[in-house]
Amino acid sequence: MKKLLLIMTSIVMVTGFAFNVQADPAQDLRAFQDFYKKKFPDVQFDDFGNGIYALNKQLRDEWEITMEFPPYELTLDEGKRLFNKPFKNGKTYASCFKNGGKNIAQNYPYFDIKKGMVKTIELEINECRERNGEKPLKYKKGPIVAVSAYIHSMAQGKRTNVQVPNNPAALAAYNKGKEFFYARRGQLNFACIHCHGANAGMKVGGNILSPALGQTTHFPAYRAKWGAVGTIQRRYTGCNKQVRAKPFKAQGEEYRNLQYFHTYMSNGVPLNAPGTRF
């Protein structure tokens, strides 16, 4: 009898463990979003894209006043101008993106099965430039952010719709991004989830920590700290530095995979980029 019990227990532990490790993206998504819905029952699902302004009325009121003259406007205008400005060969960015770049940002990042890698809008902006005989731009700030902000703005209101195809390489990229999100790093020994999970809504150094759900929908975003519009990967760099970890290269594999997982977790939240954060 004891032997039987031991065998049964072992089977449950082993299969239970395997099930846990191999939790598929759809299960992860459900558990992730359920956590935030339960933690913030008064926040409407679509409002998670507004970050801390969905949690704090006073900050929201101030933010809404500021949004009458959004500080990203000049960057957005510049992005539109650059997007429509012909390259030396006469083509424009629109020639490189599906539907001329309209209503596509909600599907990014995506896993390119042929190339075996996660593709972001910024990465494809530079690929577009190179295909058309132009030099690639620097990532994180400057003209690339303006063009990306404009492409994102053309998908405002579209719900985040990142797909993880049933492909081993795509799943591997997703799992790497997931591991990054949950792994402690840096001298402070913090993972992304430690600030933006159970502690979301709490204060650190006078700042309210935003929930991870909806964080990706408003990037590229103007941040008062930057005094400029920047990409989400620039924000990752800042987060990593804050926990005293050495940041990774923008658009390198680590941050692209992280962005893939992170954005997938916000599936269903409408895009509202460019955003503004103070």
């Binding site: 846990n20 490790v21 939790a23 992860d28 558990a31 992730f32 956590f35 591991e179 949950y182 792994a183 402690r184 790093r185 840096g186 001298q187 020994n189 993972a191 989830i193 999970g197 159970a198 990593n240 530095k241 005293r244 970890a245 050495k246 940041p247 990774f248 680590e254």
Partner: protein
Amino acid sequence: MKLNSLISATFLSIALLTGCATTPMATADGYKEAEAAAKEAIKKAASVGGEWRDTGEILEKAAAAAKSGDYETAVKLASKAQHQGELGYQQAMAEKGAQPPSYMR
């Protein structure tokens, strides 16, 4: 027999403690040794994505101290960088396969 065991254990403990805490001498050669060990530790941490933010800067400060002839500071800083490199590596290895916290499963 008991006395012999006690003496052996004491010597072993001392050897272990001092052995673990040994730092290179505060000399030019000692610094070179400490710098090489730190670089190796940083490289190992970086190979698993575990390098910490300030480690490289600490090693740069160590180099500056060595340049000015302050080998005591140089060795101390290089050893600190080595320690951070080792901890960064251990941390990254421990976090392999990190999963959502229990409240999010």
